[in-house]
């Protein structure tokens, strides 16, 4: 193989290595977290980022032909499909789980959450104001 082909091989295998590392991270996250809605966060990463990196490496290997276009089509399809399937799975979990409030806070309407967030930011502003005032006094 010529020098150019070796460089192409190295760049492609670098992308594949990144993809495999992200897949391993995904698996670690799936076994590390304790609840489905947390695990879903780790699992959604592999659906888009890891497969994109792997297929990008394979696209570099295959060169400029029709196969590359089809590999790109798979990546584009997964960009659209993965968020939808994650959303549907989260909906399944929130609908069927009877003791969801043990795992996360539930707000019946969105105004309660907005009020709490506003109170939290006000507290933070007050704290920072105190911290900045303290050395002066």
């Amino acid at each position: 193989m010529t020098a150019f082909e070796w460089i192409r091989f190295l760049i492609g295998s670098l992308f594949l290595l990144v993809g495999v590392v992200i897949f391993l991270t995904e698996l670690f996250g799936v076994f590390h977290f304790k609840y489905v809605l947390n695990r879903m966060h780790a699992a959604a990463m592999g659906d888009t980022l890891a497969i994109s990196a792997c297929l990008l490496g394979l696209m570099i290997f295959s060169g400029l032909n029709f196969t590359t276009l089809k590999l790109f089509l798979i990546i584009v399809f997964l960009w659209f499909a993965s968020p939808v399937s994650s959303h549907v799975l989260a909906k399944l979990e929130t609908v069927t789980c009877e003791n969801l409030h043990e795992h996360c806070e539930i707000y019946e309407d969105i105004s309660g959450l907005e009020r709490e967030l506003a109170a939290r930011t006000e507290d933070k502003i007050a704290e920072t104001a105190k911290e900045t005032e303290a050395p002066v006094s």
């Binding site: 489905v36 699992a43 659906d47 890891a50 029709f66 196969t67 089809k70 399809f77 909906k91 979990e93």
Partner: protein, 106 residues
């Protein structure tokens, strides 16, 4: 093309190992959503394996199969989620109906 061949075989072996770990998650998962999520992950890994196989065998049409596999995997997750939501709601509806009937009889 010796280095490419070695790399593809090594990646296929690695992905088959990761697939078995995904299968463990699917068997262990305490809830239905856990299992469906593991199946989705396995689908993603199988897609990468099919793409590697297409380049290893130098057969372009295997990529078409990969694209169709992506569509079917997405469809299976969506349809199974909808089916389980439907089953759950029907069961809740039935239980509530039974309770109402018992109250009426008492």
């Amino acid at each position: 093309m010796e280095p490419y061949h070695t790399l593809y075989i090594a990646l296929l072996l690695l992905f088959s190992f990761l697939l078995i770990i995904c299968l463990i998650r699917a068997v262990k998962g305490p809830r239905v959503a856990d299992r469906l999520m593991a199946v989705n992950m396995m689908g993603t890994m199988v897609m990468v394996m099919i793409s590697i196989l297409a380049l290893l065998l130098n057969e372009g049409y295997l990529i078409d199969i990969c694209l169709i596999y992506a569509m079917i995997s997405f469809l299976s997750v969506v349809v199974l989620s909808k089916v389980y939501i439907g089953i759950y709601e029907e069961r809740m509806h039935k239980e509530n109906g039974k309770e109402d009937n018992s109250h009426d009889s008492i």
